[in-house]
């Protein structure tokens, strides 16, 4: 789940950082016409390839790829590619600078010796960024994620100061719908989003850091999510895991931290064949074990104990690079992890609001 990323875009617009989740009212007047945006409903079924494209009318949407990679010396790498769409007002996309859409791209490369991140922004309506379904193409400035209509084959490229990557993704399993047929709840108070993933990518390609090119292979996970609702008040941030188990199964878990009371937890168990099973909050236990100080001075948990007893999961999750801090306009932590215990494997962890 990355439902709280609408908070992220919201904060981008409000130009504030590390603040508690804003109430709907604080969205610079957006709260009033929030109902004018399209709403997420339980009875809706997703249609592909149409739903791979942008959903104008919804307030917030993203295309999110994380890849766990290995170079030919056996060293671990991680790559992140994200495109956010945020609408300033409801309504269809228009031509010209007055389009309601703003686009934001984040990219990161984590590997031996550190974490590098980059951000790029674009306005809608002029072709500077966008997402089209057939053929599938998501782009912002010189970054892109494009390929077949069913997302089975994708090429992903992005760059930043001192790094760039070009990765080819080939899926070996089906798309996975989270929650109830893609209707994914984010709190006990009715906040929800449409959410599906493609967690079964095999990856090959090249990463380049400080002028040095390396061939890499590995696995990747794509997340698609859109919504119109900001977070409930009192929700201060979230911790999100996407885990590739060595057995071939996948596990998605998240927890939304509350300033008061117990966090909201949910997840999806995905079998190696791609069958999804929603996990309820009481089935998931997350416990911070160790913290790391980030470049902004904040302490962030980078070692966790993750338990899903129903699926015999009891593992210790460690960040590959404890300082995988995203120094973007709205900073957060996102980086590759590896885990061992009852099962082992690799994955990605995202933490905001610290």
């Amino acid at each position: 789940m990355k439902g709280n990323r609408c908070l992220l875009i919201g904060l981008l617009l409000l130009a504030g950082c590390d603040q508690p989740a804003p109430t709907p009212k604080s969205f610079a007047g957006l709260g009033q016409d929030a109902t004018a945006f399209s709403q997420v409903t339980r009875a809706h079924s997703l249609v592909f390839p149409l739903d791979h494209a942008a959903h104008n009318g919804f307030r917030i949407e993203w295309w999110y790829v994380t890849a766990n990679l290995k170079d030919n010396q056996g060293r671990d790498w991680g790559a992140q590619w994200t495109l956010f769409r945020s609408a300033l007002r409801p309504g269809p996309e228009t031509t010209g600078w007055n389009s309601p859409n703003l686009w934001m791209g984040h990219a990161a490369l984590t590997g031996p010796g550190g974490h590098q991140s980059s951000e790029t922004l674009a306005r809608g309506g002029i072709g500077q960024a966008g997402v089209e379904a057939t053929p599938f193409r998501a782009w912002i400035n010189d970054w892109s994620l494009q390929g077949s209509n069913d997302l089975a084959r994708l090429q992903m490229t992005a760059n930043g100061k001192g790094f760039n990557y070009t990765l080819n993704l080939v899926s070996t399993g089906p798309l996975v719908l989270h929650g109830t047929q893609g209707y994914s709840e984010k709190s006990g108070k009715g906040q929800a989003s449409y959410y599906y993933s493609q967690p079964f990518y095999r990856v090959s390609g090249e990463v380049e850091r400080d002028g040095q090119r390396l061939a890499v292979t590995g696995s990747a996970w794509l997340d698609r999510e859109w919504s119109s609702q900001p977070l409930a008040s009192g929700q201060s941030g979230w911790d999100w895991f996407s885990l590739h188990l060595d057995s071939g199964a996948k596990l998605m878990l998240f927890r939304v931290r509350e300033t008061q009371g117990t966090p909201y937890r949910a997840g999806t168990w995905i079998s190696a064949e791609g069958r999804a099973q929603a996990l309820q909050g009481e089935q998931i236990q997350l416990q911070e074990l160790a913290w790391s100080k980030q470049e902004n001075g904040r302490e962030v948990p980078t070692r966790w104990r993750v338990q899903v007893p129903a699926h015999d999961v009891d593992v210790q999750v460690d960040a590959l690079e404890p300082n995988a801090w995203m120094s973007t306009r709205f900073p957060y932590w996102e980086g590759p992890v590896h885990f061992s215990g009852s099962v082992s494997g690799k994955g990605y962890l995202e933490m905001t609001g610290y």
């Binding site: 617009l13 130009a15 007055n98 309601p100 500077q128 010189d142």
Partner: protein
Amino acid sequence: MSPLLIALQALLSHWRRHRLQFFSIFTGLWLATALWTGVQALNSQARADYARASAVLAGPAQAQLVARSGERFDQSLYLQLRKLGWQLSPVLEGRLRFAGEQPLTVRLIGIEPLSLPAAMTVAGTSLQGFDLQAFIGMPGQAWVGPDTLRQLGVDATGRATSSDGQVLPPLVVQPQLAPGVIVVDIGHAQALLHAPGQLSRLLVGDEARPLPAAFAERLTLHAPSDDGDLQRLTDSFHLNLTALGLLAFVVGLFIAHAAIGLALEQRRGLIRNLRACGISLNTLLIALVLELGVFAVLGGLAGVASGYGLAALLLPDVAASLRGLYGAQVAGQLNLPAWWWLAGVVVSVFGALLAGVSSVLRAARLPLLALAQPQAWRLAQGPWLRRQALAAGLLLAVALGCWQWGNSLASALLLLATLLLAAALLLPALLDGALAWLARLCRGPLAQWFVADSRQQLPALSLALMALLLALAASVGVGSMTEGFRKTFSAWLDQRLSADLYLTPQDTTQALQITDWLARQPAVTTLLPSWRAEIRLQQWPVQVQGIIDHPAYPARWPLLEQRPQAWAQLASGRAVMLSEQLARRLGVQVGAPLQLPNQAMTVVGIYADYGNPKGHLLVNADWLRGHLPEAKLSTISLNLAPEGIAPLKADLQQRFALDDSRVVEQASLKRWSTEIFSRTFAATTALNSLTLGVAGVALFISLLTLSQSRLGQLAPLWALGVRRTQLVWLSLGQTLMLSSLTVLLAIPLGLLLAWCLVAVVNVQAFGWRLPLHVFAAQLLQLALLGLLTSLLASAWPLWQLARRQPSALLRQFADEG
């Protein structure tokens, strides 16, 4: 009580009995500080506004991409370059016009905040600091400075409407924003400027790299900042103001100096007593300096306050002339930082030290016993006079050097300053000489006394007379220059503005359509389209104007110098004509070759181009279009029968959607130009009259102070039988004689000054030389004004003398006894 306190108390008690002296020192410092800080306020306000104007988009030195054609380009170029990984931020700029009682044109800047380089600020606001959603959303925001908001005549909650009916986004006041600028989101800018999909330039966010060939054909990379132009262009204007302010400062210090000197002289007895009582010289000097400090702070505070008032009063004129002359937008209201006030007081303290230091030093050097002798002061004046004459000689040598070898505005102003100071320093010696010569002519005892006593008054009055000389000479000089300029300029304007209608089309395409249409109108007798491009010659911005071969030009384009067949050679496309200031800057003369961007040309003519801060170059239109493809058809001027003007204007406006600012009649253009030029000198004239006023005050105060010590000289005459009324007339005659002699000297000095201004300072400051005109009536007027000033200044002291009771005169003898 400490000795210092005792000394201070004793010294300060003097002012209780001599309020007038207190007032004179205070006035001197007050006026000096007021005029100086006033001028500084004007300058710093204008400079701050230039800085604000060039810092609307401020960041680390910013390279930018602009179209080779100089016009706008399609935003697809921006998108393509972004796809190639260039970090760019698009900007669209244009002029937005507003109708109304005072038609207003503002610079509209459309920015794209998302892509602005992170370190960049817009009107002093960083990207993190403003409400992005409100700015780029609907209805968006239009940022204006407080001054522009006032000019728009809309309150902060209202919406402004441009002259073509476009409603601006809601206005948001940004105190940091330069006047005459409106900043909106680029989307709004494209709509307001009728330029959908068009951009003016691209700010380069990262290190500039070579453009791919496909783009290099259309775009070109401009090195960071060409914005210093405004600062450079206006430098001379501000230097002139500064020079005038300095002159006023010096005159003010003369007053303070005179009064401080007299106060010290009157306290010789007191100082002797204090010293005799055991107060050490050091303690005494510290007390004197402290006393001076009190004056300085009081005068400084008053001066800074009135300087602010003066600047506020003059600012609209200064702003108007800067706008007219240089296109520089300066706010009509002062907005000065706190340090400015402090600096004013510091200037006053500095001035007080300057004015008082010689008196304090003299008090320190005079022998203890000599202090008590009434003649000690006068005796010390003797070598002082000689030293002054020597200093004057040295200053004259410097002036001569400046004239011979100087080649800058600073040296020209130094020439003026040294000339003025030398004349002022020579004045006492000259007057002394003149009186000595008169004394030899006088026969009767009363006449001899008249001249001898005048000579005796001279040292006390000399500073006031110097101030009068300086102020009068400056008035004559500045007056001759402004009048001469007005005369030359209006004659030039009459010749140059000889078309009936002037059109400024929106762009070249429209201009060509208009030209075609006009060519088919039988009423139009002369049709002169002119093309324009901007280039740089030796780093100086130059406007190149391309004109067609037409017999009207030789008649309406007066040339200062030319070669035979100049106009025919220009039409051939192998020759150019230059404005006087450009020729001077490039150091070329008629007949010399001139290398233009694509071809070498011959200079065949030089013309006056008053008021243009940029260089101006005249070429053949076909040549210009062939060699500088970015040239635009910018203005069309035409002649027709007077009765046809109004209908044609209406027809043009309707047919081509041109508002009043784009179709201008000759009369209003001329009115506008003359207005700018008269306002240019309004501030100069005002400061000049103030300086004359200050000199009057100086004379008045000196005479007033003198009159109190005059009883000693007048009482014996009265005792010898001269009546009081006769004494008054004699005193008046003395004053008038001294001031007449000063006025007589001031006139040639003023004319010399005028010559320096038109032939040296103007050439250095603006690049043009004006003929020297002598206006006899003006000279007479100023001479009478000078005499009137001194008459008025002596009136009050003399009236007091006339009312003196005989007992007061008698008491003089009693005191001596």
